[in-house]
Symmetry: C2
Subunit: 371 residues, 2 copies
């Protein structure tokens, strides 16, 4: 088996697992910080590891444009290039082609687009995406798919999903199996239950090392997302990891874990670190707010990150007002650590049969807000 996944325990639909890759083990439920351009913004990789993160997400779209997959391959692969020796998952590039690049043209064969950096024209096919992710030496390769926009009519969602399933087959065929490396299929079908089922069936008949849920967190809101997650994960194979792409806020993640999802990625903790927002057990706060100006408390009492153990809110507020990079560095670190503590809490709660209490306390605290 290319990627071994063990499920150690279940609690309701929630699962405690271990995903084994060539570069180490990922304990699930897991949150993957995003390292778009071969760096988790404003973090040294050893600091990312210190937060407890066991796997990063890299963006194929950004890396194929700069510095290019051939250069990364020449430099010994993405792990070595960016000095991160733990597992890496790469997306397929498809989502960013649609959201970032210019002059896109989508055909059955693939997608033509112009780089948002310098206008260079590229043609991305399932086969080329696999080739690029192989050169990056990604531990978990994602199929090229079309992320169906929301809202979509039933027919649009069906056509889009069906093409993604044909691309999933082509991706699987182009992927080179290796021990400790794997490929994940991506379920589409928007919020339509029967399309989600057809997509899951198509993926299962191809066979993947893991299954992602795509096309959610694209504007439908948490309520609609949770409705889809009430059925979508159940359609995927039980003993394979399930990955909800691009999600999300802490309460999104908790709700998705309760619905059987094992893996997550989101720019939320890192991007928020650059906009002065900090996640805490009592909800999020913005350190630019004048009320923090003379506050001698840490950002989050009890957090063990460098921000919370060594600095006051007053100091971070000051740094932020002066646009100091250290504010971004410390807030990013804290936010990633917050997410990793959340995941550790969920894993511990599944292991200890205390998930209900953990989740209740999580929501109760979140509701309190910053005090």
């Amino acid at each position: 088996m290319a990627l071994k996944y063990e499920i150690l325990k279940k609690s309701g639909k929630s699962r405690l697992g271990k995903l084994h890759t060539k570069h180490g083990v990922v304990n699930t439920p897991a949150f993957m910080p995003v390292g778009t351009c071969g760096t988790v913004k404003a973090m040294l990789p050893e600091s990312v590891a210190a937060t407890g993160a066991e796997i990063l997400l890299g963006n194929t779209y950004h890396l194929m444009l700069r510095p290019g997959a051939d250069l990364v391959e020449k430099m010994g692969g993405l792990h070595k290039f960016m000095n991160w020796n733990k597992p890496i998952l790469t997306d397929s590039g498809g989502f960013q082609v649609m959201s970032l690049s210019g002059l896109r043209k989508l055909t059955e064969e693939g997608v033509t687009f112009k780089s948002h950096v310098d206008g260079t024209k590229y043609f991305l096919t399932p086969e080329e995406s696999m080739n690029i992710q192989h050169k990056l030496d990604s531990n978990i390769t994602m199929c090229l798919d079309e992320c169906t926009p929301y809202p979509a009519t039933y027919q649009q969602a069906k056509d889009s999903m069906e093409m993604s399933m044909r691309w999933a087959k082509r991706s699987r065929e182009a992927f080179v199996d290796r021990d400790g490396y794997g490929i994940f299929g991506i379920q589409q079908g928007s919020t339509f239950q029967d399309l989600r089922q057809q997509s899951a069936d198509a993926l299962k008949s191809i066979g993947f090392d893991g299954y992602a849920i795509g096309g959610l967190a694209v504007g439908e809101g948490q309520e609609e997302m949770f409705k889809a997650l009430d059925f979508a994960p159940d359609m995927l194979p039980d003993y394979k990891p399930r990955y909800l792409m691009g999600v999300g806020r802490p309460d999104d993640i908790v709700g998705a874990v309760l619905r059987g999802v094992d893996m997550f990625d989101c720019v939320m903790p890192t991007r928020s670190g650059r906009t002065a927002q900090a996640f805490t057990k009592y909800g999020s706060l913005n350190i630019r707010n004048a009320k923090h100006r003379e506050d001698e408390r840490p950002v989050e009492e009890g957090c063990d990150c460098p921000l919370c153990t060594s600095y006051t809110r007053a100091y971070i507020h000051h740094l932020q007002k002066c646009n100091e990079i250290l504010a971004v560095m410390l807030l990013t670190w804290h936010n990633i650590r917050y997410y990793q503590r959340l995941m550790q809490g969920l894993r511990d709660a599944i292991a200890n049969d205390t998930l209900d209490e953990y989740v209740k306390e999580f929501y109760d605290n979140q509701k309190k807000g910053d005090i």
Copy 2:
């Protein structure tokens, strides 16, 4: 004695020393990284300490505007506020008032100026500068002076220096003596030898814990600066530390140490880290240069900083092209470490009677350039 300074050894005019403060010892010759707003830009304080830096410079002008000296005092002083438990020297604010603020008016009493941040009007006197530096809990307080612009006529330089000497006396009188804390006088007189002598005599008759050489590195060029340094340090007391303010490039520092200077500060290593420039034994290089694109070598072979031990030039070039904060973080770290290695090298060479060879090798290597 408020600050104890030991000279352990001399080699020609160069001195190996130890400056004892309440927050620890500074080995001289020493380079002080600049922490303008209560942070060395893009560095965690523990990383600054890891470079070997034993003392930082803080800017009174910036800190009095934001967050204000009263707030820093309330937070337990600058060391605690910024999580740096080693010595801190603060400048007087005078230089930045002249170079950064708007609508200045200089009188015998002090200087009126408007904040460059929000236009608030301030009145800075020698007494107020001492008061602010006291609230910051600075280990080494600098007298308020006027940094004579260059070029200046003899009469301009004389008038400016004489007012600075009157301000030095007022500064000394307003300074509160405490064990482990001290105040430095600042010699002015532009490039005129007799004015430098008059200034030194005035300062000595007041009596300070250390003596700075001000008014150099303000546009006169290295040749003129070295001419002034051929006589200026000799006019200052032998057994007190001598501090050349705002200097400089590595070869400026080496030349000044040979002329009897013990302490330095400059934004060069930190600012260069934000403009892609790296200092190395073979001169400086700009990592944005296309020639680094596929270069698998470290920025500086043999350097023990994180940049050089864990990353290729190709990777830093990539980060820089993508405007990634990590490039700034790593280049800043490297540059500060480079400066600290230079100072350690100078100290070792004085200790081992090998200063001539060290300096010859330094200049020979610098001339080779990046290869």
